[in-house]
């Protein structure tokens, strides 16, 4: 495919390396680094930049780790430096609250992904309505979307739209989906949502499908794509944004992003920041293959090291138990139970 049927389509890119990338950095990105990255992305023409703890608003916790600074400190440092980009945040009801959304707004955030598991959209009405009341660009974000079928996703997306979401995302949190899975879900959403409601896709690269899935999403009607520069994100990372921008340019899809500048951000700023090479390795491939939440990766490695069970075995077991985003505590719990069953752990107490 070179210049294609998608020639002339306009797509809004949304960078995740300062939010999803926080997972890959164990929440240890400094305020200075955030400002440096965001300023460079702004200069490269990226229109939306997500800036928070990896778990979003309310994310600072024993469950999800403590970042180097508060969400307010990050947002307040980044937002005033933006010449054209909007700063966005993630809000997962049950973890983040409307109070935190208000303070993120006060610090300069103007867009929000209100995220629920793909079957639980009805936990988001207050938060979506409140974001609209604040005048924010408001997205309903259906996570682990492979765990609901196309009709189910369409129905959940309709709910979010009815609460006030201006965009509905299909979110492949596990990096499990293949292009046909993406097309089916986006197509079903497009068929039921109002024409003015936008559709987005958020991919993870655990099966190496981030770019292909994002293109499939656009073919099926998506006009917003999440990615992260150099793929800095959970699991094998998000759709690498500079690669995606290049593919879009070849296909004639208009992103408004300066390709060479964003390539430089990836190479000169993001890659040197990485603690480990964010890539498809044995464990992140396991996430994609078994359909497990990408953020579980580093937690499973830590639990595996601590209790002498392989991270891959833990991840497969978490997939079998149908654990979803937010249940990071169950990684340690599962590792301990597996270690007990294998005679590796003396039972502490009963």
């Amino acid at each position: 495919m070179s210049e294609s049927s998608l020639k002339g389509r306009k797509v809004i890119l949304h960078d995740m390396c300062l939010r999803d990338g926080m997972h890959a950095k164990r929440e240890q990105i400094s305020v200075e680094q955030m400002v440096k990255v965001a300023t460079a992305l702004d200069a490269a023409g990226v229109p939306y930049i997500q800036v928070t703890h990896g778990g979003g608003l309310g994310g600072n916790s024993l469950q999800h780790g403590f970042a180097l600074a508060s969400n307010e400190e990050y947002i307040a440092a980044v937002a005033p430096k933006m010449k054209q980009a909007k700063v966005s945040v993630l809000l997962i009801p049950g973890l983040g609250t409307m109070k935190e959304l208000q303070s993120a707004y006060d610090c300069g955030a103007r867009s929000v992904h209100v995220a629920t598991h793909c079957t639980e959209a009805d936990t988001s009405p207050q938060h979506i309505a409140f974001a609209r009341k604040l005048g924010m660009d408001t997205t309903g974000f259906l996570m682990m979307a492979h765990l609901n079928d196309a009709a189910g996703i369409a129905q959940q997306g309709r709910l979010m739209e009815s609460y006030g979401a201006q965009t509905v995302y299909v979110t492949d949190s596990a990096g499990y989906m293949l292009p046909d899975d993406v097309k089916a879900r986006i197509g079903a959403l497009r068929a039921v949502l109002k024409p003015e409601t936008e559709i987005g896709f958020h991919g993870h690269h655990n099966l190496g499908m981030g770019i292909a899935n994002s293109i499939a999403a656009i073919e099926a009607g998506a006009s917003r794509i999440d990615g992260s520069v150099a793929g800095l994100g959970a699991g094998a990372g998000n759709t690498p944004l500079e690669v995606f921008a290049a593919v879009c340019e070849r296909m004639g899809i208009e992103t408004g992003v300066d390709l060479f500048k964003i390539m430089d951000v990836a190479e000169d700023i993001i890659v040197p920041m990485m603690d480990h090479m964010v890539r498809v390795d044995r464990e992140s491939l396991t996430l994609g293959f078994a359909g497990v939440y990408s953020t579980f990766l580093l937690h499973a490695k830590r639990a595996g090291d601590r209790f002498g069970v392989s991270a891959r075995d833990i991840l497969v077991e978490l997939g079998r138990k149908k654990m979803i985003g937010g249940q990071e505590d169950m990684i340690m719990d599962t590792a301990m139970t597996m270690a007990k069953d294998r005679g590796l752990l003396k039972e502490a107490a009963r």
Partner: protein, 304 residues
């Protein structure tokens, strides 16, 4: 043996499950169920189980309170109507057990502070939230040994066990539970996280409790205190089970719990609902025992 006569307000799942638990109690007797829909399944079931019913809300119950000698009422409606329900019934000397998030009375976790509330003859006590009932005993078990700076709880609930009220008000759940972790659990700071998992078959309620102690935790004393507390909760929730831990990492103590319900009216996986009805019943029983023993007397509150 004489029993204390009770009214149940709210004819939904919680109210219906309460009938089963109260019927089993040696000191409580369910007499009235109050609903607002004459066609409701809950009211029909209550009638089948021998209760008097009204579909006129609390106002339908008020004329019968004195004649039927109702002394304790359980409110499983909503925070919006609870205050009015409580005011009307308190005026007639009926003690209220609040299962809504209204929390106008003191917060109650039976093994932690029920004794205190009974001694003070509180006329309205609040049962916090399912996650609060499932986790605050553990926080308290740690904080009674040594100072807890921060306690964090993660409650995973089966999607089928979470009703529309909780879904539409998750922030309220978060605030109520976080506050109770401090006020009742004894932690300086508290945070509550909730996850709703749609897996089939439904997952049994899970709770992870993490405490950060000021000083290095005394492993032996804390473990002993936690195990003792689990035993206390098991007296009214037999399915309250330690799955893993306590595990120590520096100043962090972590406990991994599971709560299976009794399967009365609610399914067993809905331990989150069961622990609320069981804790509410346990609370009513303590008041009932004291009333029957002549140790306390409920008094009508002055009309405002």
């Amino acid at each position: 043996m004489k029993k204390i006569r009770c009214a149940l307000i709210g004819s939904g799942n919680i109210g219906t499950d309460l009938i089963y638990k109260i019927k089993r109690s040696p000191v409580l007797e369910p007499v009235w169920m109050v609903g607002i829909d004459p066609e409701s399944e809950g009211l029909a079931r209550a009638r089948e189980m021998g209760l008097k019913t009204t579909a006129e809300g609390v106002d339908g119950l008020l004329p019968h309170v004195l004649a039927d000698h109702i002394q304790i009422a359980f409110d499983a409606t909503s925070a919006y109507v609870h205050a009015e329900n409580s005011r009307k019934l308190n005026e007639l000397g009926v003690m209220m057990i609040d299962l809504t998030p209204a929390a106008i009375g003191p917060l109650c976790v039976p093994p932690v502070n029920l004794r205190q509330h009974a001694d003070k003859v509180e006329m309205n006590v609040n049962m916090i939230s399912c996650a609060g009932q499932a986790t605050i005993p553990i926080v308290s078990a740690v904080s009674r040994v040594q100072r807890v700076d921060y306690a964090e709880i993660v409650a995973s609930l089966a999607s089928k066990s979470v009703g529309p009220g909780t879904r539409a008000n998750l922030d309220e759940f978060t605030y109520t539970t976080s506050n109770a972790i401090q006020v009742v659990g004894g932690a300086r700071r508290g945070k509550a996280l909730a996850i709703i998992n749609p897996a089939e078959p439904p997952m049994i309620m899970r709770n992870t409790i993490s405490c950060l102690t000021d000083d290095e935790p005394d492993h032996v004393k804390i473990t002993e205190s936690i195990l003792q507390m689990i035993g206390e909760v098991q007296k009214y929730v037999p399915g309250y089970r330690l799955v893993n831990g306590p595990i120590y990492d520096g100043n962090k103590v972590q406990v991994f719990m599971e709560v299976a319900g009794l399967g009365d009216y609610l399914p067993k996986y809905a331990g989150n609902l069961d622990i609320m009805t069981a804790a509410a019943t346990r609370t009513a029983e303590m008041f009932a025992e004291e009333i029957l023993a002549g140790k306390i007397q409920l008094k009508a509150t002055e009309a405002a």
